[in-house]
Symmetry: C2
Subunit: 316 residues, 2 copies
């Protein structure tokens, strides 16, 4: 494996001063509904509102000083953009973020509030990548990929490490899967710290590329893309895929309706704001209760960055 246990330990020490060791919460109601004993790792109350700060921070802090000082660049319309902007400010360097020009204003504002410079492109992969290349060529900034980067994966691994340290002997852990950074990091921490823990991933039916990739044993695109879980639209990278295909138990898919029902339960019963992508693991558990009944299950609430105006639509 390309990432060792010691590298995860080092990453955790490196980023600890910049992140929260987020709380692990329980809910009697959700235990009753599911028949499982669930431990929710609340990355929704993490800095920037998502686990992405772990990987972003580790990647930025791992850069040698002479690379770091030229600035950090990335493309993202979501939580990774905030993570890089935050991390760059922490080390007093510049962040250059390429964002699609249809990004929600609230996300653009959040990135700008951390002092990053934003470059808008058309909302497609080609426009993103070519503008990013242009920015990197011009500035000499270091590109940090949102997930297909070992320092990022190692940073994301610290989330499950904290969960396992707080709640040992978990039978299962469930994470969401988008590009696979959190999932592959979780798989590595479970492998090193709790080898008897089985890791599942939850994925939206409307972005089911990871399921197809595992089935076909090669990186695939989703058959179709249509889901409210906007953090999980990306396909796997070669680095994340190689870890995932080796260690993951399976991918459990959920519909948007199941995502909304899970979000409603979390709002009503736990009084927590979790974004659609972030409740996918709970939706997967509730959709496959037969697997988890009577077991101790770690569920990662990966983020809480919701566009508030959408709440009325979802909960109408």
């Amino acid at each position: 494996m390309n990432i060792s246990k010691q590298q995860i330990i080092d990453a955790h020490e490196r980023i600890k001063p910049s992140i929260h060791n987020t709380p692990v919460l329980t809910s009697k109601t959700l235990n009753q509904i599911s028949g499982a004993e669930i431990f929710f790792k609340c990355e929704n109350v993490q800095k920037i509102g998502a686990f992405k700060i772990r990987g972003g921070m580790n990647a930025v802090l791992s850069l040698p000083e002479e690379k770091r000082k030229k600035g950090i660049a990335t493309h993202s319309s979501g939580n990774h953009a905030q993570a890089i902007a935050f991390a760059a400010r922490e080390v007093r360097t510049k962040a250059f973020i390429v964002m699609p020009d249809n990004s929600p204003a609230v996300k653009v504002d959040a990135v700008r509030a951390y002092g990053a410079e934003i470059f808008f492109c058309e909302p497609n992969q080609l426009a993103r990548e070519s503008l990013l290349q242009e920015v990197v060529d011009r500035t000499g900034a270091e590109f940090i990929h949102p997930y297909n980067n070992y320092a990022v994966i190692t940073g994301q691994a610290t989330c499950a490490k904290e969960l396992i340290e707080e709640i040992p002997y978990l039978d299962f852990i469930i994470t969401p899967v988008g590009g696979g950074g959190l999932l592959s990091g979780t798989l590595l921490s479970a492998h090193y710290y709790s080898p008897s823990t089985i890791v599942y991933a939850g994925e939206p039916e409307g972005a089911a590329d990871a399921l197809l990739s595992i089935r076909n044993n090669r990186i695939e695109k989703a058959p179709y893309v249509k889901t409210i879980a906007d953090g999980l639209l990306t396909t796997l990278g070669d680095k994340t895929f190689s870890i995932i295909k080796r260690y993951v138990k399976d991918i459990l898919t959920v519909s948007d309706e199941e995502i909304i029902n899970a979000m409603r339960l979390v709002y009503e019963r736990m009084k927590l704001v979790v974004e659609p992508s972030g409740v996918v693991p709970l939706a997967a558990l509730l959709n496959h209760m037969e697997i988890f009944r009577g077991k101790k299950v770690g569920v990662i609430f990966s983020g809480g960055n919701v566009e508030l105006r959408k709440l009325g639509e979802w909960f109408a």
Copy 2:
């Protein structure tokens, strides 16, 4: 004073097995915005989603066995109804709840889920009270008033007791004020446990009866009633008023717009669901930053029971 320090200690011991010692959270962003150092006591994640369980539980557990076994009765469309239903179930007796027939279905369902018997009346004070009397006459159940009851006030006092035990030397505590149960309990705990702590209450402009009552030194109705903070519509009782007028520093009013802005900050920055009535203390702080700048302030998030379908309206 009619409630001693020892009675608050006894109440706390009595209800501890049935309630959560709720977490005290902080937010760097809200500290930056306000210039104060704020400690949020999160009763939104309390059992039944509100502090009301403290008073309801203490009142029910304080009844002698022969009274308790005939059942508990109350009128409420809100969190007190859930508190009494929950408490009655805990001691294996019946709850009889009079609710206005326009109560939100979600609240009716929650009360029913705890096994209470519900009696619907027309939505006015006279209909409520006469139906309640009828129920009490017929069943012999004990009426527990939502706030004008010393056992209830003593139970509510345990919330500020926990806050002060966790964060000593607070300069201020801010609570909401409706009927005054939480405010008068908080005033007593501050008096006994942290006499240098100054207590303010936040009140909606559209239900400003407590402000008027303090100004005129007698219990007054609000000049007009129109606010989204639906837990704070009631007027003070003689028991709560006598404690409030003696100890409260002042009542700070806030508009519905300020309540919505505070709720938005709490959703976006703290990822917590707090009901409109519950964020009134934070709205009051943000509306009077000059009082609190540079100080340590305890803010009680009193409840989290929100009708989700209203979120879209508020955050449009």
